[in-house]
């Protein structure tokens, strides 16, 4: 009875909500997301501060932001401030997890893992690590970036945890990396304020769109984010691993 009631209420809410929402947006539509005069157009054309005309891959030099990946240009340049906040959210979550799990709780024990996992972990781990680093260093050119890269690094450590029940991480190094990467991120912003007059301004030469060494501070920021995210999620994994719940 209760289930029927809850379901009925949710459905009623859904119907009413969708009906109301259909007045403001075409909810049944698909692929009509061409928003007239949207801010994002300027991100694609890289002409927020000054119009440089058409941006051609591999040719255009010194565009506003030299990132071939437009999403990256939004994340790490146009709206880099958002990303700083986003990193902080993750940072806060990691701090929270370690605070709540407590300092004094002991490391938990995992079940002994299988032979295949144990053996292959040693091989896969460096590959994953390198891939992760690759992803965040190429964030301005290819899909991915600091967040996926960092997550991949963290998952490589998770793999080690899974493979070896006695595996223990020295946490200090990660904490230092996490703290310093964050500090450096803010510092990069502050340097921009001193050099260019704006916080987080892209003060390095942006180079040719599509080059590895292009896009100014974007790769720098993405590397920092990658390191930070990697160490944060690793920290979360490590903290969660502690004091395994006994059922």
């Amino acid at each position: 009875m209760k289930k029927v009631f809850t379901a009925a209420l949710v459905i009623l809410f859904g119907v009413v909500l969708l009906f109301g929402l259909s007045k403001s947006i075409d909810i049944a539509g698909y692929g009509d997301g061409l928003i007239p005069g949207k801010a994002a157009d300027a991100y694609i054309n890289k002409n927020v501060t000054s119009g440089t005309g058409e941006i051609i891959f591999g040719e255009t030099k010194n565009a506003e932001t030299g990132s071939a990946n437009m999403v990256t240009s939004v994340i790490a340049n146009y709206r880099s401030f958002d990303t700083l906040g986003e990193v902080t959210v993750l940072f806060l979550a990691a701090v929270g997890v370690s605070l709540i799990m407590g300092k004094n709780s002991k490391e938990g024990k995992m079940k002994k893992s299988g032979f295949i996992l144990r053996t292959s972990a040693g091989i896969i781990f460096p590959v994953m690590l390198i891939t992760g680093i690759y992803i965040f260093t190429h964030g301005h050119l290819t899909p991915g970036g600091g967040f996926p890269g960092g997550s991949m690094i963290a998952s490589s450590f998770l793999l080690l945890y899974l493979a070896d029940e006695n595996f223990k991480l020295k946490i200090t190094g990660f904490k230092v990396a996490e703290g310093l990467a964050g500090t450096l991120y803010v510092m990069v912003g502050a340097v921009g304020l001193i050099i260019g007059g704006y916080f987080l301004i892209n003060f390095l030469p942006t180079g040719v769109v599509g080059d590895l060494f292009s896009a100014g501070i974007i790769p720098v920021i993405y590397v920092l984010i990658g390191l930070k995210v990697g160490s944060e999620i690793t920290g979360i994994v490590r903290d969660m691993h502690k004091e395994e719940v006994s059922v």
Partner: protein, 114 residues
């Protein structure tokens, strides 16, 4: 239809939170909601024929039709925040379990304020 589907996902998540008292299931509900809203954001930025917003050798010019990169950036942020919240939620779940030996909120009965 994708918008409808994404909104349905939000509703499903809501139903999950509403009907379930298991901490983990509630967290799953929250995640489903977040997923729904992420898809909703993407759907708003997408249009037919648009290409992924990355300049490559194939799609080389900014004059081509790219889908909205801002929506995608927002989704990325939203995902990361969702990750943080889920991590915290799981830790809370573990604390609940450690304290009450159950994941069922119904079995806790509120607990008196200290």
């Amino acid at each position: 239809m994708i918008r409808l589907a994404s909104l349905l996902l939000i509703l499903i998540g809501l139903y999950g939170i509403f009907s379930s008292r298991n901490v983990i299931k509630i967290l799953i509900g929250v995640n489903v909601m977040e997923l729904g809203v992420n898809i909703f954001i993407i759907s708003v930025g997408f249009f037919k024929g648009g290409i992924a917003p990355i300049l490559t050798a194939d799609s080389f010019s900014s004059a081509m039709k790219f889908v909205d990169p801002l929506a995608q950036a927002m989704v990325l942020t939203s995902i990361v925040i969702g990750l943080g919240i889920t991590a915290l939620g799981l830790v809370f779940a573990r604390k609940i379990h450690a304290q009450y030996d159950t994941y069922d909120l119904g079995a806790i009965g509120g607990g008196k304020d200290d």
